[in-house]
């Protein structure tokens, strides 16, 4: 029985694996400057991104390893989301980390490992692969959240993320076990074949709900969201940006793949749950965000609310719903990393400006910073001509097509609520005088490059939505 492996299909994953091995080896030698590791990460992820885009344009489809690993436009589109997030996070991290030069190696190593985990999640055609990818990603993120070991807040964030993340993984795993019991297989297409309409065993239903709980924790859906604000606040800001972007997209990738492809015959059961969760998530996230005084916590609650908007696309459960959810995730990753990047840019001599009141008067004193922040916040709020508007528009449109008018009304009300707290920061920056004069440090060039890229992306997708919408529409499995 000869074994055939089509290496070309695995190219993006292989490139990331190779990059992380190279980073690991280079980190062994103390004589080499650690700053180069960040650039290696960016170059490796850049090549993988380029390969993924090429494969996406060529419409590559195929499975590997006994049908366990599926490369299609869906997984490739998500690869693009993950790799863009990784590159942006690496760019904003370089200046953030330069203070303690020696520990950079593990940082980039773990980011690459988490990226590899996400790619496995999106490409998993077998629940084992999805679980392994999920754990590879989560374990790396637990360490990254507690990366500043000398900082009590960072350690605490790491512990909270670890305990709740592992708890969620256990739910996810038990859900898989029950689905395996109900369907007799863990292969995604085979599960769909095994579940015929009259045969809805209680095992399958229980497994499905456990999966929703597991995913709900991982992507921070209300009522499983409590960890997110604490972790985002305590973790290094760059890692908060990373956790809020790629892993959330990866969670949704596996969510979409498993629920749309393996459990379509249970759609009646799960779509009503998803609708309720979407409404809850948007409303709770946005309402609590209003009360926040710390910008990191505000962004944490806003990212919870954004998961709710993505759920609208999932609730629509049609092709437009999937493609709009994917487009939304891409847009969300770019603008959210951009917003966190702007927070890092607003660094004073005594550390980061984490209170919203610290941003008073920045509009005139720091025009570049204020401009980045404004673009990202307007996009998060969903104002045209930014990418956030495009993302929301298509998500809402797909839900209308699916007949979920109420969901869209709740979504629209929430957009209005969210505009309030996003604009409050903008107003604080431009209209209010600072209470005390803060002395800001100089802008690091890599951080500015990252922010410029994010801003260009946000505006470009906002003005020319078809640029990313068409690829997203071609990516529905």
């Amino acid at each position: 029985m000869p074994i055939e492996i089509n290496w070309q299909l695995l190219m993006p994953e292989l490139i990331i694996t190779l990059t992380l091995l190279i980073v690991l080896v280079f980190d062994l030698f103390d004589s080499i400057s650690k700053a180069i590791l960040g650039w290696m990460t960016i170059v490796g992820a850049g090549i993988a991104l380029w390969v993924s885009i090429q494969m996406h344009q060529a419409g590559t489809v195929g499975t590997q390893f006994n049908d366990m690993f599926k490369v299609d436009n869906f997984s490739l589109f998500f690869n693009i989301i993950f790799l863009v997030s990784t590159i942006l996070v690496a760019l904003i991290s370089m200046s953030y980390l330069s203070r303690d030069d020696r520990k950079q190696g593990p940082y980039y190593l773990l980011i690459l490992l988490a990226t590899l985990g996400m790619m496995l999640m999106a490409a998993g055609n077998e629940l084992i692969i999805v679980f392994l990818g999920l754990e590879l990603m989560s374990l790396s993120l637990y360490v990254l959240a507690g990366y500043f070991r000398d900082n009590p807040a960072s350690s605490e964030a790491g512990m909270k993320y670890l305990l709740l993340g592992a708890f969620a993984s256990a739910f996810f795993l038990y859900g898989i076990a029950l689905i395996y019991g109900g369907a007799g297989t863990t292969n995604v297409p085979a599960i769909a074949e095994a579940i015929t309409a009259p045969n809805k065993s209680p095992l399958l239903l229980a497994g499905m709900f456990l999966l929703i709980v597991g995913f709900g924790f991982k992507v921070a859906i209300v009522p499983f969201h409590q960890w997110a604000p604490d972790v985002y606040e305590g973790a290094p800001t760059t890692i908060a940006a990373f956790i809020s972007a790629g892993p959330k997209a990866a969670g949704f990738a596996a969510f979409l793949r498993i629920f749309m492809e393996a459990l379509p015959s249970l759609q009646v059961e799960w779509s009503s749950v998803v609708i309720v969760l979407a409404m809850l998530t948007m409303t709770v996230g946005n309402v609590i965000a209003i009360a926040q005084t710390s910008i990191k916590r505000m962004l944490a609650y806003s990212s919870i609310a954004h998961a709710g908007y993505v759920l609208i696309g999932l609730a629509a459960a049609n092709n437009d719903g999937i493609s709009s959810a994917m487009l939304y995730l891409l847009v969300y990753c770019v603008m959210n990393i951009g917003a966190f990047g702007a927070v890092i840019l607003a660094k004073t001599e005594d550390g980061e400006s984490l209170m919203i009141s610290d941003y008073a008067g920045l509009g005139l004193r720091k025009p570049l910073l204020a401009m980045f922040m404004t673009i990202m916040l307007l996009s998060l709020a969903g104002f045209p001509p930014t990418a956030g508007f495009v993302g929301k528009f298509y998500v809402f449109k797909s839900a209308v097509q699916a007949g979920h008018i109420w969901l869209v009304i709740v979504g629209a009300i929430n957009t209005a609520i969210s505009a309030f707290y996003y604009l409050r920061v903008v107003v604080t920056m431009y209209m209010r005088e600072p209470e005390e004069e803060l002395s800001f440090t100089a802008y690091p060039s890599t951080l500015v490059v990252g922010l410029v890229l994010a801003a260009i992306g946000v505006l470009l997708i906002g003005i020319l939505p078809s640029l990313m919408l068409t690829p997203a529409q071609n990516s529905v499995f």
Binding site: M1, P2, I3, L21, L24, V25, L28
Partner: protein, 122 residues
């Protein structure tokens, strides 16, 4: 059926009762003449020093964790070894190299932990 397990239950019950009753009997009937040497902790004849419940260095924890990680990876060798024969006719070399790559990556991780001071003891 469950009723088939009744003898095992009875056996277990009997074992517990036998041990329990004997211990209780010696406790009640046996003469007790305690002295200081008799009451001291038995430590293979050596005079006991300090409390057993003291903290030990965190280094143990690190080494133990590294051991667990590398030790558990061996579990993947078993299924590989079981199916090796089935594939050895056609692509034996390939799956041998595959396993070597796996072990090579593990080795790289081990060297990394070593170089980063995970195994130094001070």
């Amino acid at each position: 059926m469950l009723i088939d397990y009744l003898p095992i239950l009875l056996l277990g019950l009997f074992a517990v009762l036998f041990a329990g009753i004997n211990l209780a009997l010696t406790h009640i009937l046996g003469p007790k003449r305690p002295n200081r040497v008799k009451l001291s902790v038995y430590e293979s004849g050596v005079r006991p020093v300090g409390d057993a419940r003291q903290r030990f260095t965190i280094r143990f924890d690190l080494v133990a964790m590294l051991f667990i990680i590398f030790d558990i990876e061996v579990v993947f060798l078993y299924p590989w070894a079981v199916v090796f024969k089935k594939f050895s006719e056609t692509s034996g070399l390939f799956i041998l190299i595959e396993m070597l790559v796996f072990i090579g990556i593990l080795l790289l991780g081990y060297i990394y932990a070593w170089k980063k001071g995970g195994l130094t003891w001070d």
